[in-house]
Amino acid sequence: MDKKSIIKALFLVTIEIAFFVLFVAFMLTHHTGKTVAFLLFFIFLGILFKQWENARLALVGLFEEMKILAGVVFILMLLAVPFVFQSSPYLIHICVMAGLYAILALGLNFQLGSTNVVNFATAASYGIGAYTSALLAVHYHLSFWPGIVIGGSVASLFGLLLGIPCMKTKDYYLSLVTIAFGLIVYVLLINFSWTGGPNGIPNIPAPSLAGHSFREPLNFLGFSLPFQSNFFYLIFLLVGGALFVAHRLHHSRVGLTWNAIREDEIAARCQGIDVTWYKILAFCIDAFFGGVAGTVYAHYIGFISPENFAFIVSVVVVTMVILGGMDNVFGVVIGAILLTVLPEKFRAFEDLRLLIYGVIVVTMLMFRPQGLFPQKLRVYQR
């Protein structure tokens, strides 16, 4: 390796570590004023990045060139997060919730981003996954690991159930049908006695792997990490898997067909595309992702109630996809992380949360409807 590439590699690693340090510092501050200062600094960096063409192209080129090194360093930094935050388990909790919402956003991305089906029933699939695995765990002592698959599958079935009436409707009316579905699930969860009614289901057992329960602190390399770290690593793997699946689906005939349906449905029909099948496929895959996230949520918190799966959750996930980027897999993850971390840091503005979500949606749709990170052009290898 020649001197130049070593310097470039060091530069890359330094930049990544610098960002990591900034992120950690941002998370650790408690003072609202300092948090705002950090945020403004990040926004300033973002604008600088956008405007300064040469620097941006050079940096992006560098990352492209040393993709593997950048990826490895990034993953190592993520793995180090629980170690860094071991004195404040609350911050690890935020990361876990961000990961859960990232999975939900990735699922919704198939519908909203790829196919332009505005689905407000994410909370329903989230809740169905959670309740299914919770009920099976509490009453039938089903272990967490098959619970993930079962929770996802049952949610997927309900996604199919939702998809069928949606095929008869278009655009706004389809959104109304999904909102109605979400509300129906919410009301049923409150009113059925076997789901625990408004009191929900308490005492959901924690997952355990090789005898180690996830509710216990993780002892590793002499460090005693808070129990949230168990779930952090689990979520890390799940988000990685979700990204993998989403990326592969996007870069395939299926993803291209979904985009065609989004662009022009009639022309898509005339190209031999079975629009109904592909839309229902999007519904089912979205619901599966939601179910998986719901299962992890149920076993993480240990207690679920219908309030956790109200309409507002769907709105938040839709906002994440719109903010992050329609049909950009990494964009929606960043959108999810932003919209989970920022409300937690700005607890002072808790009352204005709904208002801020609304402002974000309206602003993004007016000025940048494709999201912060728009869909990337598909490039094919010969």
Binding site: R253, V254, L256, A268, C270, G272, V275, R378
Partner: protein, 312 residues
Amino acid sequence: MKPALYHIRFRARFVKGQRVKAEDFKTKDITDLTKPASLPLPLDGRVSSVFHLIETQQLTIHFGGLAAVNEVDFHMVEGEVVGLIGPNGSGKTTFFNLLTGIYRPTGGFIRYQGENLVGLPAFKIAKRGIARTFQNNRLFLNLSVLDNILIGMHPHQSSNWFDAIFWRRYTERELRTGVEKGLALLDQFGQDLAENCYRRAADLPQADRRRVEICRALASNPKLLLLDEPSAGMSPEETEVLMGDIRKVRERVKGIGMVIIEHDMMVIKGVAERVVVLNYGRKIAEGTFDEISNNEEVLEAYLGREEKDVAA
């Protein structure tokens, strides 16, 4: 209730007023026929079968009280180029929409290679080999040119969501093959298109968009190509290029049948072997270009009739 139509093999047909026996149509090779040359078929060996590529009988669609297409009989064989003309609003695009399954007819039959098309959803009809372009150019605007062509190949590809996640090599191989074929197809219609295949379709000028749309229609290897006003808004030079493209398609795709809706009579005269004229949804004339250009009803439809008596 109309009786079911049988295939041409089992039913006697009338051709230009002469009764022709069905048995005479059973031979596959057109040159075998000792039939009179009055058959409206191109007799230069291009046709491999005398069965109609597509035929409609008494095709009708009502929108409310209005019959947009009114009892139209239409037929064509493989390799034929038929022009479909008529004043605006005469039902030409509606006819195309009926053939491709976007509308469902309220009466009449459509047969494609002997198979009934009425009631089939549009995507199944497209899979059987009927492709079309649109009057107002429905490309997938936010996708690249190459993506548009790849979507055109959808009916002949088979990787599904499971393959996309787990059998990656199969999916990639199919995509690669598609990309090769797509670029070869684009190359035939203009090298600049193939070189700039990653341009967003919305950034293309109108003439290029038309060509990409024709390429997309051809990407699915259709047997019947329906072109809806391909030369609308084009300058005379661009129209010449278009006519060249149409002839190129005929040469390179064996046996493809084309129906072209046009308002520009130069295009019709240049490429169409037979012309069908619609007016207010009804077929008012059929024949070669010279025949219909002297047809009184056709002239009246386009130019109007002189008022003989005007009440004072």
